[in-house]
């Protein structure tokens, strides 16, 4: 109980306190709230943001569902490689990819001109960039759900129906909880997105909040007022998550391998392979453009002068935050899986902090921690760690919950009956038995922290900005080849973390 309380306290302090604090700030900012919210423009902006997020979600589903099915259950050639190429961009800050698209289709891009630039710097460009960036979320969750599905479900249907009918009538409906979760995730990420719309000069609601905190229109009272309409959006997403997905969401994590006979694609084989690989390559194309721009303008040679401490700040804070996230996730994720009292409520708070637009959470974090008594913390990199834990605690909780649910409860009950108390069961049985899943959760949490831009940009300590923030701030005035090289250095850093982490997890699996 003590351990559960300590983990709960971390979630309450980091995730819940900023949101609660915002509620108390709003009456104080009454006049500003009235003047801002009585205007027509913020509401128009909000509707526009929600519609753009809905469009991104719809496009991501349209790409991700068929691709997930093709990767998980068909004889598509090189589907593991396809999955890797397609999925990698989702580990990067989306504005990095927008930067790459700009190098390709901007006015002076490798393939660009007036028309392509106009298209890129518009709502259409925004939706296209974000849909390509976030569609791997749908693809991966669909693929994991399909791979984790009991083989007998499919085999029983294959006896009676053709493969296409099995796929559409059995596999896809059975993966609906995963699809629901993926859709909520993509919508939440799209609503939160700040870097891409600011870069592509598309006016969205989070940018209005940011402008009042970090821009020339500094007006924190108005920022507090502007987060008010976003809170029902977050609560609505939480409600949807609980209603549509609930415990079913855990079904996405059962990776049992591709041992079943794949569904043959027959004469559709070449066409579907071409389309799938085109989508995957298109998603990775901006990275090639960044590399080319960096190389051509000798940006890589100038990297040491510009990069500063940013990679170390990114890596260090991500390692510490991800470790805390997984430690908290181990306790609360286990609690959620085993339905311990209070764990579900804390999980809901963590989900709320994640689906809450990052600008709202960021404003809340500033309200709580930007206080003379907290001076040391707010002015240091510790605030970045607190922010990452606040926003991504749910990653640890859900990662652990999904693996614990798949391990027999009898292993823990046998340990309890043998006299082991909770801490001993946690460290000697639950952790070792679920080590691979916990390690995967650590890797995922680290990647989320590394790619974060929207939360950190609001409160990063001077001179200690993480790499995505450094790239974004340099993008406006820095030499384009250097910015491209910096962006590529972030890509390389993420690739090292993902590849190293995956190797460790897979080696553990074989052992």
């Amino acid at each position: 109980m003590l351990v559960l309380s300590a983990a709960g306290a971390v979630v309450l302090l980091t995730s819940a306190l900023p949101l609660a604090r915002l509620l108390t700030e709003i009456p104080g900012a009454g006049a500003a709230a009235l003047s801002v919210l009585s205007a027509f423009r913020p509401w128009l902006l909000l509707i526009r943001s929600l519609m753009l997020a809905a469009a991104v979600t719809a496009c991501a589903i349209a790409i991700g569902v068929p691709l997930g099915l093709l990767i998980a259950r068909t004889d598509l050639p090189g589907r593991r490689a396809l999955w890797m190429v397609h999925a990698f961009p989702m580990f990067l800050p989306p504005f990095l990819l927008a930067l790459g698209w700009f190098q390709l289709f901007g006015r002076e891009g490798f393939l660009g001109g007036e028309v392509t630039a106009r298209l890129l710097f518009s709502e259409v460009g925004l939706v296209a960039v974000l849909a390509l960036t976030f569609s791997p979320v749908v693809t991966s969750m669909m693929a994991l759900a399909l791979l984790g599905m009991d083989a007998s479900l499919e085999e029983a249907a294959r006896v009676a129906a053709r493969p296409w009918r099995v796929a559409t009538r059995i596999l896809l409906p059975a993966a609906r909880p995963a699809l629901g979760l993926a859709a909520i995730l993509v919508f939440a990420l799209s609503v939160s997105e700040l870097g891409v719309p600011m870069f592509l000069r598309v006016d969205v609601f989070p940018a209005a909040v940011f402008a009042r905190l970090g821009g020339i229109r500094y007006a924190p009272g108005e920022a507090f007022a502007l987060v008010v309409p976003l809170m029902p959006v977050a609560i609505g997403l939480l409600f949807l998550e609980r209603r549509l997905v609930g415990a079913g969401s855990f079904a996405v994590a059962g990776l049992r391998g591709m041992s079943r006979a794949p569904i043959p694609l027959g004469h559709w084989h070449p066409a579907l392979a071409a389309v799938s690989w085109s989508i995957a390559v298109a998603g990775a194309l901006p990275l090639g453009a960044l590399a080319l721009r960096g190389a051509r303008g000798r940006g890589f040679g100038q990297l040491p002068q510009w990069i500063g401490l940013a990679p170390w700040t990114s890596l260090g804070t991500a390692v510490v935050a991800a470790t805390v996230i997984v430690a908290v996730g181990l306790v609360l994720g286990h609690g959620v899986a085993r339905r311990l009292r209070g764990a579900s409520m804390l999980d809901a708070l963590a989900v709320l902090a994640f689906v809450t637009p990052a600008s709202v959470l960021g404003v809340g974090l500033i309200a709580v921690w930007n206080h003379p008594a907290m001076g040391g913390l707010y002015a240091s990199v510790a605030i970045l760690i607190v922010g990452y834990i606040a926003r991504y605690a749910v990653v640890g909780i859900r990662a652990v919950a999904s693996v614990v649910l798949q391990s027999p409860v009898h292993l823990e009950e046998a340990a309890a009956a043998a006299g082991a108390r909770f801490w001993r069961r946690l460290t000697r049985i639950i952790l070792p038995v679920n080590l691979r899943g916990v390690a995967a959760g650590l890797l995922l949490a680290m990647v989320f922290c590394l790619r974060d831009f929207e939360t950190a940009v609001l409160y990063y300590p001077p001179g200690r900005e993480p790499l995505p923030v450094r790239i974004f701030t340099l993008e406006a005035n820095g030499p384009p080849p250097v910015v491209a090289a910096l962006a590529l250095s972030h890509v390389v850093l993420t690739a090292f973390v993902v590849a190293g982490g995956s190797l460790l997890v897979l080696r553990r699996r074989r052992a």
Binding site: A416, A417, A418, P432
Partner: protein
């Protein structure tokens, strides 16, 4: 002398559905009680309420006379009950060796190292697993895993051992061999045991007494002979008739 395990008027409900209804049972020290019933009759729920994994809505669970659970309250935690369990899936910890599996509970209960090692050596010898101390569960045969599971329970010298259909899904030969090991170990150590099964042949082979469960209630208790002589219901009669046709399992 108080019962080693005593259940009085216990009621358990899952998601609004009554699974155990006003159930009372008593197991004397050193006695082996076989709890017999079809799937869904509530046998496993009885075992879980004794272990402390389920709290009874009403009624009392006593261990050696001490109240462990009562009226929706868990008064003694599972880890403090001094019991041991063998689950149907055995629940051997895959990351620990055979010796590690046996040592885990002894460590938890603060048994000194020298005594711990002696107990492990002795019980492994008794179940025929000498030399397998460093093997992991994944490296053992089905029968060897069953032996590890029973050894892991008995090495604790618990106040009672609870066995939840540990032999289901085994072939008759192996079942007979393991039943004979179980019986010998329980009797020589005078261990109190609750053996949950749906197979009357196993119940008859191991139980000093048999309690027959139907729909969350104990419908009859007694020795095999007393059940045969006076079956309390058509359900019990059907069970016994099936048994007469099938022959015994313990040879």
């Amino acid at each position: 002398m108080s019962a080693a395990i005593g259940i009085e008027g216990v009621r358990i409900r899952y998601a609004g559905k009554l699974v155990i209804d006003e159930l009372s049972l008593s197991i004397k020290p050193g006695e082996v009680l076989a709890l017999l019933g079809p799937s869904g009759s509530g046998k496993t729920s009885v075992l879980r309420v004794i272990l402390g994994f389920v709290t009874p809505e009403t009624g009392t669970v006593r261990l050696d006379g001490e109240v462990a659970s009562q009226e929706g309250r868990l008064l003694v935690l599972p880890e403090e009950r001094g019991l041991a369990v063998v689950f149907q899936d055995l629940a051997l910890w895959p990351h620990l060796s055979v010796a590690g599996n046996l040592a885990f509970g002894l460590n938890s209960r603060g048994v000194p190292r020298s005594e711990r090692n002696a107990r492990i050596r002795s019980i492994l010898g008794r179940v025929g697993l000498t030399g397998k101390e460093h093997s992991h569960p994944g490296e053992l045969s089905g029968g060897e895993r069953q032996r590890v599971a029973i050894a892991r329970a008995l090495v604790l010298e618990p106040r009672a051992v609870l066995l939840d259909e540990p032999l289901s899904n085994l072939d008759v030969g192996l079942k007979r061999e393991l039943l004979s090991i179980f019986r010998a170990l329980l009797k020589e150590r005078q261990t109190t045991a609750l053996y949950v099964t749906h197979d009357l042949r196993e119940a008859a082979a191991l139980g000093d007494r048999i309690a027959v469960m139907e729909q969350g209630r104990v419908v009859q208790e007694g020795t095999l002979d007393s059940l045969r002589a006076n079956p309390a219901s058509s359900f019990v009669r059907t069970l016994l008739n099936d048994f007469s046709g099938a022959g015994t399992i313990d040879g």
